[in-house]
């Protein structure tokens, strides 16, 4: 069991830090009762256009990779396997993030920059726990959402 925990840590160290944006309360950059005249601002630094204030959690390095549907479906001749498709991503999160739900967002940061600039933001669509005795980790599937370019988190 300890081997599994150590292996998970070792593998995770090869990944990168991400930021999890946890939804807290409705943002005051728009009026939720008058949506025809106001809407969440895409440049709002509290909600990033999502309408909810966010608690930012910068994680220790975690593994994540592109989720390819071709692995789970029958082969199709029309399918272009070499296509680079980052629409879906899966993240392997340790057990401390067990409270995250489908309302949260995951931000992949731009590399080689000192400030935390969002490269892509993914909305969590599914979370699958993997349990072996007391060792738990989570596989979170994210779908890419559109954001304003060069958003500083």
């Amino acid at each position: 069991m300890l081997t599994l925990v150590n292996d998970f840590k070792k593998i995770s160290e090869t990944g990168r830090s991400i930021i999890i944006l946890i939804a807290t309360s409705t943002c005051d950059c728009f009026n939720p009762e008058d949506l025809s005249n106001s809407e969440p601002s895409p440049i709002c630094t509290k909600c990033y256009g999502t309408g909810k204030k966010r608690l930012k959690i910068k994680t220790a390095p975690v593994r994540f990779q592109i989720y390819n549907d071709a692995n789970n479906t029958f082969e199709d001749l029309d399918k272009n396997i070499t296509e680079y498709n980052d629409e879906k991503m899966m993240f392997f999160l340790p057990s401390v993030y067990k409270n995250i739900t489908n309302e949260e967002l995951i931000v992949v940061l731009k590399e080689g920059v000192d400030t935390d600039i969002a490269e892509k933001i993914y909305k969590i669509v599914n979370i699958i726990p993997f349990v072996n005795e007391s060792f738990i980790f989570f596989e979170a599937y994210g779908e890419k959402i559109n954001i304003a370019p060069e958003v500083i988190i």
């Binding site: 292996d7 593998i11 939804a23 401390v96 349990v131 005795e133 060792f135």
Partner: protein, 354 residues
């Protein structure tokens, strides 16, 4: 727990429950006793340590609130000083100069001493908990006030076995809190060292449990045995029954904890070892990354067969314990019966029929 302050961030180390800290509104920043929204983000370093990165320079006017507790920002001569959590739970600054609390374990009393020159009136709130439901659900709340004369000790309340008490008092704006874990196990048929060995043999990760968790487990299972078999206090103290009781108490815990770990999932891109289809070694797969499993050949996960053997052993022990309790009672009964019969005979013999 250890808290260090820097100009830009607050480092919290050895935090026991990091899952709670990542919930909104658990970590808050106060400036001049008012909440301010100046936390930029939380940075988790590992499973127990995290940083609270702020969008402003931290000064001594700031306090950090973790859950229900408030920790003041204290800078010392060094750049990153550290304050440690007081071990007795008495987290106060100015109250310490006026009062001192003392726990008398012999008489099971909590005493308060007024060290100032004037008599003071303190208002207390006392929460009483079952140890099993501590600290979430309060069993009983009591409010009372005490007048303490200078340089005298006064009993605040009496401790009881099996309960946890939390004493809170407010005095001139400062709060103090005492949580006492004294004497919570009423019955204890094993010890934590032995239980840890049993967990290790059953390949259960003992790092997930603290000493207090293990003590509560032992206490719970001991009470379950005592109640389930209808044992008397004398029988609990019988040294001849202790080996059976100890083994049974440990096996109950092992069975419970191994059953929790049996649930496993096998879909998606990641996989954990499953005893049914992988007995050779432990292989962890995270997408494209996979461990070789060679380093773990010595660990054998056979949870299903192990579980059967544990339940069989528990059945044997339960039968033995039941038999021994009944036989003991029977023998005691026989003894008195024989004594009575002999006494009657003696009486009969002594009767003069003439």
């Amino acid at each position: 727990m250890k808290i260090s302050f820097n100009n830009d961030y607050i480092l919290i180390e050895n935090f026991q429950n990091l899952v709670e800290a990542l919930v909104p509104n658990y970590v808050k920043l106060l400036e001049n006793a008012e909440y301010v929204d100046k936390i930029r983000f939380l940075n988790t370093i590992n499973e127990t340590d995290f940083k609270v990165v702020c969008s402003c320079t931290i000064t001594e006017n700031f306090n950090i609130k973790l859950g229900n507790r408030i920790y003041p920002v204290i800078f010392s001569d060094e750049n990153a000083p550290a304050i440690s959590e007081p071990s007795d739970g008495n987290d106060t600054n100015s109250l310490e100069t006026i009062t001192s609390f003392e726990i008398n374990y012999e008489n099971k009393e909590v005493l308060i001493k007024n060290t100032s020159q004037e008599s003071k009136t303190f208002e207390f709130t006392l929460h009483k908990f079952f140890i099993q439901s501590f600290p979430d659900f309060i069993l009983q709340t009591e409010n009372f006030s005490l007048i303490v004369e200078p340089n005298t000790n006064k009993i605040v309340f009496n401790l009881q076995d099996g309960y946890v008490f939390r004493l809170m008092t407010e005095f001139e704006g400062y709060e103090t809190k005492i949580e006492d874990y004294y004497a919570y196990p009423i019955y204890y048929f094993s010890n934590t060292k032995s239980l840890k060995t049993a967990f290790t043999r059953a390949s259960i990760n003992i790092e997930a449990y603290s000493e207090e968790d293990l003590k509560i487990m032992i206490s719970d299972k001991s009470m379950k045995i005592k109640r389930g078999f209808g044992m008397l206090d004398e029988q609990c103290r019988n040294i001849e029954l202790q080996p059976i009781l100890k083994e049974l108490c440990e096996l109950y815990n092992v069975q419970e904890q191994s059953l929790i770990g049996l649930v496993s999932y096998g879909a998606g891109e990641a996989s954990t070892p499953n005893s049914a289809n992988n007995n050779s070694g432990l292989k962890l797969k995270l997408g494209n990354f996979e461990t070789d499993g060679k380093s773990s050949n010595s660990i054998n996960i056979s949870s299903s067969s192990g579980d059967v053997s544990i339940s069989k052993r528990i059945e044997q022990l339960e039968t033995t314990l039941k038999d021994s309790i009944i036989k003991q009672a029977h023998s005691v009964h026989n003894e008195t019966y024989i004594e009575k019969r002999n006494f009657r005979k003696m009486v009969i013999r002594n009767v003069d029929f003439s």
